[in-house]
C-alpha cells in the first residue's frame, strides 16, 4: 500500500519567524487603522476604506496569533 507521510502545510521551523512577521504587519495595519480614525473628520471618512484596512489587519493578526500559538508548542 503506497502511503506518503503527511507533513504540516508550513515547515515547522518557520513558525516563530512567521509569527513575528505576521504579527508585526498586523499591528502596523491596526495602527494605521487607528490613525485613520483619529485624524479624519466625520464627513471625510469612507466606510469601505475603514473596513478594508480592518479586515486586512485582522487577517494578519489572526494568522500571526495562530503561528504564535504553534511556535510556543500549543499545537491547536
Amino acid at each position: 500500500m503506497t502511503s506518503k507521510p503527511i507533513t504540516s502545510p508550513v515547515p515547522v521551523e518557520w513558525y516563530p519567524s512567521l509569527s513575528v512577521l505576521m504579527l508585526s504587519i498586523g499591528l502596523v495595519l491596526t495602527a494605521s487603522f487607528f490613525i485613520y480614525e483619529a485624524t479624519s473628520s466625520k464627513p471625510s471618512r469612507s466606510l469601505s476604506k475603514e473596513i478594508t484596512i480592518g479586515v486586512v489587519a485582522s487577517f494578519f493578526l489572526g494568522f500571526g496569533s495562530l503561528c504564535l500559538l504553534l511556535a510556543t508548542g500549543v499545537y491547536v
Partner: protein, 531 residues
Amino acid sequence: MEEGPLRRALILVLVVFSLLSAMGSSSSSSPSPQDVRVLSAERRIDLTSFIVRVFLTLKVENTGASDVSEILIAFSPNEVQHLSIVKASAVAGKRKKKAYLSLDVNPVELAKGPNGAQLFSIALLSPLKSSETTVVEVLYVLTHSQEPFPAEISQSESQYVYYRDSALLLSPYHIGEQRTFIKTPNTKVESYTSVNPSSRVGTEIKYGPYHDRAPYSYSPIVVHFENNHPFAVVEELMREVEISHWGNVQITEHYKLVHAGARHKGVFSRVEYQARPSISGPSSFKHLLARLPPRVHSVYYRDEIGNISSSHLRSDSLKSELELEPRYPLFGGWKATFVIGYGLPLQDFLFESSDGQHYLNLTFGCPLLETVVDRLTIKVVLPEGSKDPSVSVPFPVKQHYETTYSYLDVVGRKTLVLIKENVAPEHNVPFEVYYKFNSFFMLAEPLMLQAWRKICVFGEVFAFNFTKSQEQKKRDKTARNSHCSSDASFDFPELQSNRLGCLAEEANEKEIKKLHLDGVRDSSWRRGERS
C-alpha cells in the same frame, strides 16, 4: 398388531437420530486428537526476568487419513489466567536459510480439555497431509507467574520466588519424546522438584527426556530460586495521543508503578542503602528505561508534586532512550505515580493511504522496557472534524469512542479509546488508526482567531462612526447655547452662510468680551503696580 408399527416407528427414529449424530460428529472441523501425534517436543522456559517466556518447538505428524489444518495446544487454568500473549510461527527452509512465518493463534471457545484446560488452535499455512510432519514453534508469555517466597523480606535480603509448572507438556496429543529446559537467572536454586530423569547444570534445569506420554498428562513441579530482577509492574497506564495536523503528535502517559516482588518489611535505612549499595536492596530498583521514537522533543517527567529532574534523555538516529529515576528507590510493595509527556513530528507517524484516508501508525504498549502493564488504556484524540474512525490492532482489545475538548474546539474531537489487560513487552507492535479528514477544516482555527479580531475591528468602526465623538459633542453643546442655531440651515445651504455669519458675530462678541475682561484685569494690574 398395533404395537408393531409403533415399535417400527421408534426404531426408525432411533436409527435416524444415531445417523444424524454420527454425521454431525464426522463433519466437525476440528480433528479428533488421535489424528495428530507429536513426535518430539522441546520446551525452553526462560525465568531470567520476572516475565516468564516459554519457547515450545513441536514436531507434529498427521497419523490420520484426512488433512489437518490446525494444531491444538493446551494450557492449564492457572496458566490461562496469567497468559499474556501466544505467538506461533512455522519454520521454512533449513539451517542457514530458516524463515519464520507467523501463524494465527486463536482460543478455542467451545471445546475444553479435562480439568478445565483451555485449548488454543494454531492455523497452519497449508493443510498437513496424511503421514506428513511439520515443525511449529510457539512462544507464550506468562506474567505474575513467579510467586515471591518468602512473601516479605527485609532491606538486605535477596528475593526468592516459586515457579510452578509441569514436567510433562500438557497437550491434547500423544507425545513421543519431550524435554523441558528451565533457565534460572543465576545458580542460586533453593530447590526443585525432581521427576526422573531430571538434572541441574549451572543455570539450567533439565527435565527429560520422557517417552510416550498419554494426552493431557501432567506432572506438577515447583522451582524455588533467587530472582533479583526488578519486578516493575505498571498497575495502570493511560496513554493519550493527540494529533495536530499543524505538525505535532503529543503523547502524554500517566503511570502507576508498583514493585510486585516480595514485600518490604521493617525499616528502610537510607544510610545502609547508600553506604553498601551492592548488598543493600538487591531486589529493589531505582532506574527505569523508556524507549521512545527518535526525533522526540519537549520531553517532560513530573508527578503530583512537580517536575522530577532525575532523568536523562539520550537520542540517536534510531531511537531515544529516556532513563527515569523516581524520587525514591522502589522496594517490594512500594508505589510511584508519575506523568511523562513528549512530542513527535507528524510526518513520522501520520500517513495518507491510497484510498484517501489518513492513518496514524503508532506502537501499542508501554515504552518502559521489561515491564508488565496490568491495565493499559490508549486514547487517540483525532483532529476536529474527522470522520469514520477505525482501528486495526493485531490482537484483541476493547474499544469505544468518546469526545474530548481541547484547544480552540467548538464541536469537540472524536477520541478512540482502546483498553487491554495484561500487556507484556511482546505487545509493542505497531497498530493503525484510520480516519477521514478534510484539510480545509484546519483553516477553521485561524479563521476563528481572525473572526474574533474582525469583531473587534467592527466594534471600533461602529464606535467611531455611529456614536458622537467628543468634538462633535462639544460643537453640539455650543450650538445649543447660541441663539443662531437652526436646523433649517442644513436643508437650505444659502442659510448656512447666515448661520456662519451669526456664529462669527457671536464668536467676535465673545472675543471682545474676553479682551475687555483682560483689559480690566490689565488695568487693575497696572493700577496695582502704580500704587
